[in-house]
Subunit: 230 residues, 2 copies
DNA sequence: GACAAGTCCTGAACGCGTTCAAATTACCGC
DNA sequence: GCGGTAATTTGAACGCGTTCAGGACTTGTC
């Protein structure tokens, strides 16, 4: 909650306070009613500030979503720590990280559609590859870096180097699936996670086989380019 | 142009005419100025109809995009025919299909961002997995089905059955990359196509190896579920 | 404690997508 | 032709996100 460190700072203490007030009010309303049904006028009114003032702190309505990213990411990170301490093998770690991701996001399922809608727009500052989201993206990838770094499995260095980014991309795919998943309690997403993690584990072993070196090298070059593209 | 067969028909001939007029005007303006800068008022005015009338034929501004889908898909399909006749191996076919996809879409690069933005919203009728887009999606996949069906490479039947859908998904990924690609003439996208097609060709051979059967089975079950989910 | 230089805050106004009741026009059986 | 029904068309109105000129307030300086 108090981790909103990534916005341009206000000049006075009062400003900071107002900003936080608006943001908390906004996130409450957004969670309660969804994105479209929450208006900037409502947010301002409930926060007890003028409409124009809300726009003083948040350039657009979409910018409020950036804060949402930070909040859920922080929650996810916190939830993740004990699980990572408990398991030392990558398969179980990956499983835990992904399940926690979904359970963290669960309250926002209805709202998440808009989130990804705006995120998919290349011109939006919110798209995960945009400059403005670099901080969150980096933090997010870092989680997978640590996951990979501490695992003892025999993984060739070239693969090990790109694996965090690949897993991050994979995790984005899972979230995308979850957004479209209307099954009860998002059961399908959890099932997909179980299956894909299993498969990924197998594929990593496979790709680590010396015989696979040429294909692996080629694929990794590709991933590297993709990563640098962003 | 005359292939807009997928909308609920108007009741009079005049209506059909008006609808076409609005649509053509809209697509012209959208291509010229992009999505946000084109207003419904402008479209109506240039088409010589009232604002309300435009809304009589197109429920929302986004619905105009559906027509865009149809148009570019038809163009792509037409452009694709000679290339498919020329090549009989899958690698070159896939290469041709994808390159033509990008060159067909090229004029709309700026506009395509919004297109995918709305397409990513699970509640939008335009998202490629939605019911309303079933027709276009099906047609689009059909192209890959034919591509796979006519190829003589030794591909196990289980893989062959799912390959069209997998290639379609892959092709969506390429389009997504293209949308974010700001390099001159979208050179990076073309390079990505060259590389990935090459890799995919290798991976298909690999996956066809009898030793790979267990992993392949498992992966294909997953893909099948994914496909049926949509 | 007065002044200046910001910063914070206000609310009216703009243009947009969208809706709707009512007016107009086309169609069809007689 | 004629009337009636239904489709087409209109334009005013609504609520929204966003902008902006200006007022109120804070902070630092002497």
């Amino acid at each position: 909650m108090n981790s909103e460190t990534s916005h341009k700072p206000t000049k006075t203490a009062k400003g900071e306070q107002t900003r936080a007030l608006i943001l908390d009010t906004a996130l409450d309303l957004l969670e309660e009613r969804g994105y479209e049904k929450t208006t900037m006028r409502e947010i301002a009114k409930k926060a007890g500030v003028s409409l124009g003032n809300a726009y003083h702190y948040f350039d657009t309505k979409e910018h409020l979503i950036q804060a949402f990213y930070h909040r859920t990411h922080a929650e996810h990170l916190a939830a993740t720590a004990p699980a990572l301490a408990k398991h030392s093998d990558m398969k179980n770690r990956l499983l835990a990280v992904l399940r926690l991701k979904i359970s963290t996001l669960a309250p926002y399922h209805e709202f998440a559609g808009v989130l990804f809608k705006t995120a998919a727009d290349p011109r939006s500052p919110l798209n995960p590859f945009a400059h403005e989201s670099e901080q969150v993206r980096h933090d997010s990838i870092k989680l997978f870096e640590e996951m990979v770094a501490n695992t003892k499995a025999r993984i060739p260095p070239d693969l090990r180097a790109e694996l965090p980014y690949m897993l991050w991309l994979y995790h984005m795919g899972i979230v995308l699936f979850w957004i479209h998943d209307t099954s009860a309690k998002q059961a399908r997403t959890y099932r997909l996670i179980d299956r894909t993690v299993d498969l990924i584990d197998k594929l990593i072993s496979l790709a680590s086989n010396p015989l696979m070196r040429p294909v692996r090298k080629r694929a990794l070059t590709l991933v590297k380019e993709l990563r640098e593209f962003a």
